[in-house]
Symmetry: C2
Subunit: 363 residues, 2 copies
């Protein structure tokens, strides 16, 4: 087993911030990127965490996006807006867009904000949480401008769709947010990369090989197979949801859609729908009833060895744990990030920041 | 095998209309009900078709709702409204609510309209289609006011949730709409009733018995088992979607939610989100790109014996077929409906309306 480094979150955040600054980001952008990437690791979603930063550095060298861009409102119709990320960091554009959406939902009760011309936006949950913290219901739908074709439609045997995720955040007074963030494919692509790197098989019913036959070997997927839609072999509902996300985030924003890619660059075009809870219910009553609903769900007798969780509970647990243990990073991830730190003259040695591996962890 | 009657749609519609009139509905309500129920049969969703009319008659006798009610806007904030169905036919209230939502989306670009205090609303697709025909993207989320507890949460082994469906309709110039309508449970309840009546087993991975063990016997479900969320045994995404629908349609409308039922009556509380396409894209371009996306999906090489369909394609085919063959109704359904016709003094003999059974059908 390869070495794992446990890096304290604040040290990792500082390293990410310094790398962003050194690669051309202004202070606010560097801070946002560092916070969001490390937050993804804390929540246990390592595929959307600090591992992405070396990729972003490469993307900038490839001209896919530029640091320090200012998003702008392209069309403004009050309750609906279309925003351009000006080919900057997706996180900056999407956070700006969510700010506009919250502002407009406060004015009108509901808002629909599209954002396009941006790069990877990271974890959708982040924007849903921003909405929830502003006492809004936030819904986020994200496509890829017709690129990242990885998923077979229900009944099909070749790649035709992206993983097209969606996220929903709900206001609460909890320390950790009530939020979910899910691909409309059976699994997100990153999970198969983890299996591939670790030499594991996939659970059944998630993948097909290049001939369209069921497989549990992640190599079959990377060699031209496909991920099935959410629901697996019976994934027509996942296919329908994926189609919905493509239309909301790709067609409606004009960001590009599957089958017709005019823009050669990756484009995490996104639709955000934000609802001001107070137009319908008193906020305190809504939060109280939401807690009541969660209690009722969690009170359900569980399957043996399993448990009923509320949306976001697993992430809350992982964050609690990782704040203690530090963030586990594979040697390869540390190596790639170190190379970028060195390349940009940031005098941080990641391996030296590692704390001792935890003696025993809960999960 | 029990007898099947093939009733011409227009004759069945007329019988439904006359029964509604005789049971106290004004002309417009009777026409809407007849049209919608028969439309569900035409689309092949018999569980939401004419079979419901005898149930509605019983519900009226039980005082669950009244005919001839006028929905009213309870709170009006422009882009968001809350509507009461005044305990009338759900179809009347929901169609009124969708009309308001379309009107407000035209004014503001996006609208969120909640509706509660209503009975069963039938197929959600109907309202999504109304939105689509008005050149809007229509999204419908429906709960049950905390009743109809049928579905186990992911990791749980007892019923805690409703089937909480959602539907999305998209504008097009096709004769048949681009629309989907799906339970966030593995299957809708009605499908298991069909299996039970026919003595069939369920596909694997959809049901658990009263002890929480996997089963394929629909009797186990009706004897206190549960439906799994969409995705079946790996149904945490279905659970999350179900939770989302409960919050949007139950909590946010104030219509009641799982675990706390204050109102003893069935209440198909609903949230509708409607987006005016033209605030984002030229309508003709949107429709053209949607056709392009559909073409790209359908062009996917298919699994053997299977096919890639666009949302609504299956329903379009069934309707084309049933317009020719007539609507197949089980003897029991005809008997129950006939009893209501007789009770209300409507001089129609359903069995006498039947056309010859089709010699051979496509599906």
């Amino acid at each position: 087993m390869a070495q794992t480094f446990y890096i304290p979150p604040d040290r990792l955040r500082d390293a990410a911030r310094q790398l962003c600054l050194a690669s051309g980001s202004p202070e606010a952008e560097a801070g946002l990127l560092a916070e969001r990437l490390v937050k993804a690791n804390l929540a246990g979603h390592d595929s959307h965490g600090i591992i992405r930063l070396a990729m972003y550095m490469q993307w900038m060298r490839d001209g896919i996006f530029q640091p320090g861009q200012t998003p702008r409102i392209v069309t403004d119709n009050g309750a609906t807006c279309l925003i351009s990320g000006n080919r900057g960091y997706g996180q900056v554009a999407a956070e700006f867009a969510m700010g506009v959406a919250i502002d407009r939902a406060r004015q009108h009760g509901i808002a629909g904000v599209g954002v396009t011309d941006l790069s990877h936006i990271g974890r959708l949950a982040d924007y849903a949480i921003t909405a929830a913290r502003a006492s809004m219901v936030g819904m986020i739908f994200t496509a890829t401008g017709g690129k990242s074709v990885l998923v077979a439609p229900a009944g099909g045997r070749t790649r035709r769709m992206s993983t097209n995720p969606m996220a929903v955040g709900l206001p609460s007074d909890r320390d950790f947010p009530i939020v979910f963030d899910m691909a409309t494919s059976a699994y997100a692509e990153g999970k198969f990369r983890v299996m591939q790197d670790g030499g594991f098989s996939s659970p059944e019913g998630l993948l097909i090989d290049p001939q369209g036959k069921p497989t549990t070997d992640p190599e079959d997927f990377f060699n031209g197979g496909a991920i099935l839609p959410a629901g697996g072999r019976n994934g027509y509902k996942g296919y329908l949801l994926n189609f919905m996300v493509e239309v909301l985030a790709g067609l409606l924003t004009g960001g590009g859609y599957l089958g017709k890619v005019e823009d050669p660059l990756f484009n995490n075009c996104t639709m955000m729908i934000v609802i001001d809870v107070t137009r319908f219910r008193e906020l305190a009553v809504f939060k109280e009833e939401l807690e009541d609903l969660i209690g009722y769900m969690k009170d359900s007798p569980a399957q043996q060895g399993d448990e009923v969780l509320y949306p976001g509970e697993l992430e809350a647990r992982r964050e609690t744990e990782r704040l203690r243990t530090g963030i586990p990073l594979a040697g390869k991830t540390v190596e790639n990030l170190q190379a970028e730190l060195d390349r940009h003259g940031v005098g941080i040695q990641l391996a030296a920041l590692a704390q001792a591996a935890p003696a025993a962890t809960a999960s």
